[in-house]
Amino acid sequence: MELARAFSTMAADLPAIFSMIVVSVVGLVMLTVAAFRSDHPSIPWLGVAGMVVASAWELFQLGTEPGTAFFGAIRVGGYAAFINLLVLLAGIATTILSVPYLHRLKHDYGEVYALLMYATVGMILLGSSNSMVSIFVGLETMSVCLYVLAGLIREDEGAVEAALKYFLLGAFSTGFFLYGIALMYGATGTMYLPAMAQADLATAGGTLLFWAGVALFLIGFLFKVSAAPFHMWTPDVYQGSPTPLTGYMSTASKAAAFGSLILVLYYALPAERWTLVLAVVAVITMVVGNVMALSQANVKRMLAYSSIAHAGYILVALAAGTEAAFAGALFYLLVYTVMNIGAFGVMALLEWDGREGRVQTLDSLAGIGTDRPVLGVTMVVFMFSLTGFPPFGGFFGKYAVFAPAVDAGLTWLVLIGVLMSAVSGYYYLRVVYVFWMQDRDDVVDARQASLGGLPPVSRTSQGVLVVCAVGLVAMAFFSGGLIEAATGFFDASAMAAAGGGG
């Protein structure tokens, strides 16, 4: 009878993983279609449709009460829905942006989009996990798909190098991650996050075991969000991967990983022993990301370092560890996802001169803004937002992560963060400068690049970019409400509901 009840509970819990089901089933269908005709044009749009359905579902889950499902393995409610929505929207945007890009490279295999779907499933699981097992399964599902996607253009040695490096180092960090989970389980005797916080660590040995486990566990996450010094793979991988997919890797996977990390910090590790660790890592990350980005001539590589720097900003909020800070981090993830997907999307459309994004220099894009005004204008919006200029979401995002950190007494950390974002202005605005204020005829690279004509125009891609740009402005105006809503995910009832599971 026990077993029968277990099954009926699980059946009743199915709505909790509705979007996961939809995305995986659609992914299977896509794979089946791809089995018969790999470049069938309907495949990406199938994926988009599936993800649209899933995001519509998640949209309605935003307001629901937090809780758990599947015997405490999965977390439901507004928080999970927010992360899932973010991941799904990133997936939709990436799919649409990839279609013309992969078509031009003649790599428009249906499998790519199916893998994108599976990666999305992994991220959704990661963002809504309530136990170490689901975190691990989600993280690996996501990672394995991304390893393959990184090496998609297998004729290109850079892509192969990227995929291999990503895989090797990823496997390496996963080892630490698993070891960390094992130690934490050993110390607490549970896999469930809320139960971990309540576990009795009476003996000194148990405490040491637990915190050593936490350290190893954090390393796994810090690797995935490319925090320094676990970031070394990022520039190579981002530079070598297909550009729209780089945008996806740099946003969705980080959003999911950060979302899961916040859950762990909030539910499983309430004692703030990790503040110093995260603060130190945040400093190193911000400094390395911003300083390294200064000397990059390739926009993709620059954006890779910039994404490292942005991980640092988010880590500032996590180090603060208050509910307001977590809410700020969530808002920042939203803003960051939109602007980074947009920036990579623009770059994807600008790789027309036969040279891949891996080797393309910023100089070769001189004056492109006047030829392709939509791309130029949206890129300006993304760059200003990434810098953190006031009328755009980026400014309010930075404000949302820095202000709670000051309240939490981490003023020194915020000071470094603000200084570093001032430095970031240099390399972001250089893109604006090159796009709009340089004349193509004055720059050798750009003259050569323009020999092959102008970049082609894709209306759907430009539509996505315009939506992203408008969204950034809108987010600035609705930042107050959005942060307030995000804070609502962490209210007292959430803590109470955390008791469930385990």
């Binding site: 291999l164 490096k165 180092l169 915190w211 810090l222 070394m232 022993r273 300083v291 202000a403 107050g480």
Partner: protein, 666 residues
Amino acid sequence: MDSELLVRLILLLPLFGAVVNGLGPLFVEQMRTREGWIGTLGTAVVVVPFALTAYLFATFDGTPVVVDFFTWMEAGDLSLQFSYLVDELSLIMTLVVTGVGGVIHLYSTGYMHGDSGYWRFFAYLNLFIFAMLNLVLANNLPVLFLGWEGVGLCSYLLIGFWYTDLSNSAAANKAFIVNRIGDFAFLMAMFLLFSQLGSLDFDVLLAEGPQLSQDVLNWTVLLLFIGATGKSAQIPLFVWLPDAMAGPTPVSALIHAATMVTSGLYLLARMSELVLAAEIVMAVIAIVGALTAIMAATIAITQNDIKKVLAYSTVSQLGYMFMAAGVGAFFVSIFHVLTHAFFKGCLFLGSGSVIHSMEHVEHELEAEGHDVSDFDPQDMRTMGGLQQYMPSTGWTYFIATLAISGIPLLAGFFSKDEILFKAFEYGFVGGANYAWFVWGVGVITAALTAFYMARSYYLTFLGEPRWPDADTVHAHESSASMTIPLWILAGGSAVTGYLGLPAVIADGKLNWIHHYLGADYGGPVAEPSLAGHVPLALEWGLIGLSSGIAVGVFLYARSAYLATGVAFDETLSARFGGLYQTWSDTYYWDDFYDNVVVDSLINGLARRGLAPFDGRVVDGIVNGVAGAAQVGSGLLRRLQTGVVQNYALALVLGVVLVIGLMVFGG
């Protein structure tokens, strides 16, 4: 209907229009020539809010309605809410903005016909209405400031609308830069208030503001007033407004006469509780207003450009309104804002109609082989006799001229007379000495107003046509889309004065606007409490005096200009000599700014003093930091070897770091 929904519609419809008119044609070039659609949409999104406001106005029961849109951001004590307030004052201002605005939109569909930037024009105009509605409907200073900056931006865009002409761009820049000075003061006032009260919502400001210390109050009100001098073109920041006439004429009518320039008055009326508590600053306001009024009026006499006359007249009338505010009669200043919106709007649109037809004359002359390089379609000296060709424009211009001159029973008479009476009363009953000065200057300005307005009408519309070949080349009346708005506004110029009948009639019981706005009757606009009254006979005497002056001077100017035409200016110039020269050189204000501010301060101090400092010291530091960062970047780059073993090594070092910090650092 739900009033919250209505407020949302009123605010968002113009924004919708701006977005559609702006973005649609920007991306789809075929849409740019669809003037019918663009004009209809642009006008509808202003007229519909007018109808909605009228409904709100009719059903308003005296309790202010607060509509919260959403929280913009929260930072510590500061909470920025997009919150709007509907009360008597904001209703009147909204009616003016959407009503006069709607009429001017309609006029623009005719005036801008065929312009390649037609869509851009309507997008800007709708955006302006949106910003202006934010300004007048705001429930706190930040939102008001947002609208304040928004209208400034739209003003800048529209002054420089024909940006291919460099002088237009220069005028736009001038307006923008001069306004920044006022905006800075406004911001300082906001900071001051927030630091003292911890809130910028109107209810808190008005309830707790008057209890602040006198010094703080004085500074706050002074800073607010300086902010108002920028936007509402008072001494010393008025210099941008005459140049702002470089924009299309509907813009001059809407922004630089009827609505935006009166926002300073609105601000003072909204903050009237605070202003009343700062008596010294009130004297400053009144005296600055009076000086501006008489200065601009004297300049207006000497101007030959029809729009320049109206521009200086606007400055002068704004001075009048500040006079009223300075003697505590805020509701009267709003009353004058209302009547002024009608007659000055009508005059500007009339001048636009005239300019249109003179441009037509210019084209015909060119077609006949004349050299038209010196022909200025805005110069009154080449006009004359237009009444016979354009009767609608002529008649409406005449009505509005009578109204602004203060001829009895038209709108301007009532509002202007009320201002003079209030000034007199403040001196007579309230015992404030400066009020006498203000009153005296006001009376003289009234005479000057009647003079220059009569001059502008008679030079333009009567007498013999003075352009070349006037017997063969004729002017033409403008289209109905332009003359209908003229008649609407002329009608308003005739009747809106009856909203505020003077106190001599039925003991002031029929002064509707006083009853509607005044705090004594539960309205939002505060009033000074004066013990005693001006005797009835004296009041009648004052009314008689001002009507006598207005009618007398008007008739004098009429006979003078009808008899001798343009030549009478020479007579004036001879009679007043150097004084006249001062007037026509606009009191050397522009020279003052050019020589003192631009040359000595900016060129001298900045270029010789600050620029080297900036170049050597500041840039040196910045470049040094940038150089250091580049060097650091280069060094760090060496760590990024590309060899995967080294990456793993870095990872391991990170592991050691994290474990060390976690286990020993916690």
